[in-house]
Symmetry: D2
Subunit: 361 residues, 4 copies
């Protein structure tokens, strides 16, 4: 625990990779909200595996079955349980991993925490598969945000050493964000994208993996969203984003590069633009004092390289209490960054919507 | 809101820079905990201003008065209210800032959120002064952690372009961490420290400011701390750390640099060290799957340059609805990084203790 | 919302009477807890309808399917989702009730709250059927409490004017509590039970219904459970118990009768009983200052008569905006008290276990 | 813990009877709320002791000092800390009570919970004095409710055997509620009030104490307030009310008497009254399905007789591990019911406002 996050749109997540089903209960969706289920399915498909040679061959439709809280095409206002049945599991692949800890995974930390009783198959509750319910809630949040004119999008900022262009911190158009969501491999600079995919395939061929950085932006978020002292929008976003497997760092606006700027360079100076307060720059990523300032909300998240690699690795066998070596077989992603793009967007959309609703009265 | 954070050690924070007092209520301290108040005062002094030409001349003793929950030298187990009276305020300095928004500050975002009713003097609730109660709770947490053999320390990893050495990711000694806490300007490499201070003074002389990065480490944290799915230790630490004014990025272990490593480089391979599971490297900063793995917990936080600078800046006057220019006078820190070191440590100590207690049963 | 309750054993509930399924997610069950599923099924059967002429003829097996968090017969420590599929629904019975509000039900208050979008069929989310997941969590809690020697039981204290004997406030044996759980109609005095059943059948024949009072006791709860100021055990129990449909009052120990006692009569005087502190009386129901004192925890809950009756009632038609009359047809319980006994026990067991775990460290 | 309650108007309470101060932090008051501090003081005076021979002679002005969150006569929207310094303490009275447990008090349960470290003087954190901050938050809530046309009032329904008239369940006027608030001894039937006071004085003379019942009503609460499943308005009210020392039972509407009604008697039948839905009766106390239905919210709370009595009582001495006898000296209330009336009102006002704000979006 805790499996629940969110203040007005509370999500309780559950499930293991090789159990009957994963899913979530979403509590707090305003009654009468029409949900375009086809659009939700499309978002789920962006994350789903088995679509290209860049990702795991595990075939999962990520089909969801709404159990409650949805009646005649609209939310009822009561809790919505969404079930995503598991399938195409090769549990046999994992039997030998019960006591041999995969480096970089939660195998050891999880085994200690859960005293050896956790479902270790396929990473169990730590599986990247648990991001599917996040995409569901994010897809619903995106629809609700769009009705307020707010749009969230993301792209791969880098894979290994290859960099994409970055977002214009003063704001991208909703069309640009929508185009990215259509792309199988979402980058601003498609040439860079080709190079990135080559890196991923190269890693795959050498039985290795690569990581990367995702940049995410939300446009038209009104000023005033965020709840100091402890529920700044940065705090809430970071809290939820660090729940996404593989995320190891978050920075807002210019982030770590701010350390090398002077105050006069870093400060976003202000002006009136036809009656509206705007900033000449957006080094703060649209958030000052933990509260949105009307500029686009912009952050980056780093995802470490997939820990499941087919190279020989040193590790421990906890049953035998001895050192051993491990080669991870099975079907794994040589890179999760491209599949994580809709996940990062989803989490951002959910948290922004949640804090927007918290602030409204 | 929300002014409260923590699960087992809940802290509710309050106060404005120029009000009667700031402070906090700490709920959940185990009954019978002896607190060394002199050690707490020493921690408060590390953060307190007015001690050198590197920081604001505002003189504040940060003296605290415990109102409740403390009886005959020990915690009672009931809520502890700590009051830190304000003093040496030059409220007159701020009168003109009611409608002229300081760039880089929460002035504008806060004014929108609080509909113009927030106490704008000295940044009000957004003042860096609110970090004093954080240091209090952290000082208590450090004492409780030390009894379990756990120690938390931090140093300035960089100011502007100047870099300190970094912590050995496999662990520093508690003596090294203690020595850092004794230093007025906590760095591992004192030569780099001298250079950093020159940068700060240079910024001060040019009416500007600088930012930097703080590296923090907790040693001897047992494996198993952290509460997936949504309360990973990374999530909890990031949530609390992003509440600290000026923090704009957090990364665990190698953080953003992980994007450029392959899986085989990034994975921390494991071995038995006299019956204990250890890793050859600690690129994950002691946390895998959101749960500690027994290696030192290690993260970096970036703090942006102080937004209060005495240079001319473009901004808006919300009363007159027009563009204007602003030169911030008054007593300000040309750099807050050195004063933030005990704050980052405090937040880390508090959150680690809190999650440790959550996981125990 | 909020669909979630509990601190260490958090339950998130979902579902509507005529949807696909109802159920819950239980977060925080300690890893490695063996659960006797047959005993859980037996508890579910105590609540299930369709077993006698005293209750609704709706046939529901209340069969549950555990989706997650349970592996090789034990809890994993990760969230357990329990699905209870719906079946034997006569949705047609309810179509005319979309706009004609049933008196005594949540129809009108719910319609206002959910702006007309709630699933009105069979009471939707307000259905007594939602108590099935409560019984599930309670059945698990009872098993965990029994391992600590703590037992929870309840009986029907009254139906209409007919009174059962009351529990000995100084404690019943676990055998007595177990016997009650075996009874189809749980009373201490079976003659009174026969009379009660006659009252229920008489009400049924006159197209009416009856209510009653349930008395519940937990024995061997150690002293020290409860979290003042706001999370007294009384507060937590009452909070959860008032979520049970039809409950309209809760009293601890002598409850409302305390108003007519003097302090010298009401106070539970203390003595040492072979080294253990005990009270001569238990007018406080085992709780003083919101914290257990080692005496049996004892409370009563009143359940109003079933509002679904086949008599003509005056009400409103919200579609036509006019007054109307209503005769509720369909299969309904003339009395829910006997089926509510395991529900009240379940809620008590869950809350006591939860607060016990909260207090442990 | 937990010292915090409330969703939108969160209150964190602290303090012990004989410490420096008691008080609270109120988080979530909407920015710009003007507070009539004189009206707040008047409410505090209703609860304050030392005013008549019916209550303790301890003189406490219950003067409060707002430390934060209040600027130029209005709330800022940031946390408001309210300090109520203690005074006129006779701590010497309590020294001998460290190990001799007062029957009916939290002495024993608290000592176990807090492992002997709690401040035992004057009941410490369990003192009735802790209700002063509740009255503060309630006084603010009442002002905010009044701006929405909602009024909360209460009266003494009974003391010992003496009964007052009861409220008209279909609603009292705001004038009646205001008049009650003006009375030193708030009853509807002043003749009954005189008799009640005689009972109290008689109890005082015989070194004993009496309890009673308080009836509370909130008028003009709109339909739709309450958050099923677990945050029904009944659940929230009961949760907070059971935090008030001495409260041992809560019932809504006809409460326990509903057990003796048939469904056709208990159901509140509905009709249109000039376009508005009303009920002919209000046996449900304005709440059905946990949600307000537009009828007055009405409940009763029983308060046990003051446990501090000057009669010889049997108890235990935990230091000597032996049975002993105790005569409680010092200044105590022979009855707390009349002083609890503004407390019950305050808690009701706070919770109703809180849930009203939760439901708004």
């Amino acid at each position: 625990m805790t499996a629940t996050f969110g203040e007005k749109i509370k999500m309780t997540i559950f499930g293991e990779s090789h159990g009957l089903a994963i899913g979530c209960v979403i509590d707090g969706l305003p009654p009468g909200t029409a949900i375009d289920l086809e659009a939700v399915k499309a978002e789920m498909q962006r994350r789903a595996p088995g679509k290209s040679k860049l990702a795991t061959a595990r075939q999962e439709k990520d089909a969801f079955i709404i159990q409650s809280g949805f009646f005649e095409g609209r939310t009822t206002g009561t809790p919505m349980c969404v079930l995503i049945p598991n399938g195409d599991q090769h549990s046999g692949d994992y039997s030998k991993l019960q006591n041999v800890m995969r480096p970089g995974h939660a195998d050891y930390s999880g085994k200690i925490k859960y005293k050896g009783f956790n479902d270790y198959r396929g990473g169990g509750h730590f599986s990247g598969r648990l991001t599917a319910p996040l995409v569901f809630v994010g897809a619903v949040a995106k629809q609700m945000l769009a009705q307020r004119g707010i749009y969230v999008g993301a792209h791969i900022a880098s894979i290994a050493e290859v960099q994409d262009k970055i977002f214009n911190p003063l704001g991208e158009s909703k069309e640009t964000l929508a185009e990215l969501a259509q792309k199988g491999f979402p980058v601003l600079d498609d040439a860079a994208g080709v190079e990135m995919q080559q890196q991923i395939l190269a890693a795959k061929q050498s039985c290795d993996s690569v990581g990367g950085v995702i940049e995410c932006m939300a446009i038209n978020v009104p000023a005033g969203v965020g709840e100091p002292f402890f529920d700044s929008l940065e705090s809430r976003l970071a809290h939820a984003l660090f729940s996404v497997p593989a995320v190891k760092g978050i920075e807002f606006g210019k982030g770590f590069a701010l350390a090398q700027l002077s105050g006069s360079e870093a400060n976003d100076q202000l002006y009136f633009d036809v009656g509206e307060v705007k900033a000449y720059t957006n080094n703060n990523g649209g958030i000052t004092g933990g509260i949105t300032n009307g500029m686009p909300v912009c952050f980056k998240a780093v995802l470490k390289p997939t820990p499941s690699i087919a190279k020989v690795q040193k590790t421990v066998d906890l049953a035998k209490c001895e050192n051993t070596e491990l080669v991870i077989t099975g079907r794994h992603d040589p890179c999760v960054v491209q599949r994580a793009v809709p996940v990062i967007e989803a989490v951002a959309a959910w948290v922004i919507l949640d804090m927007l609703l918290v602030g409204e009265r």
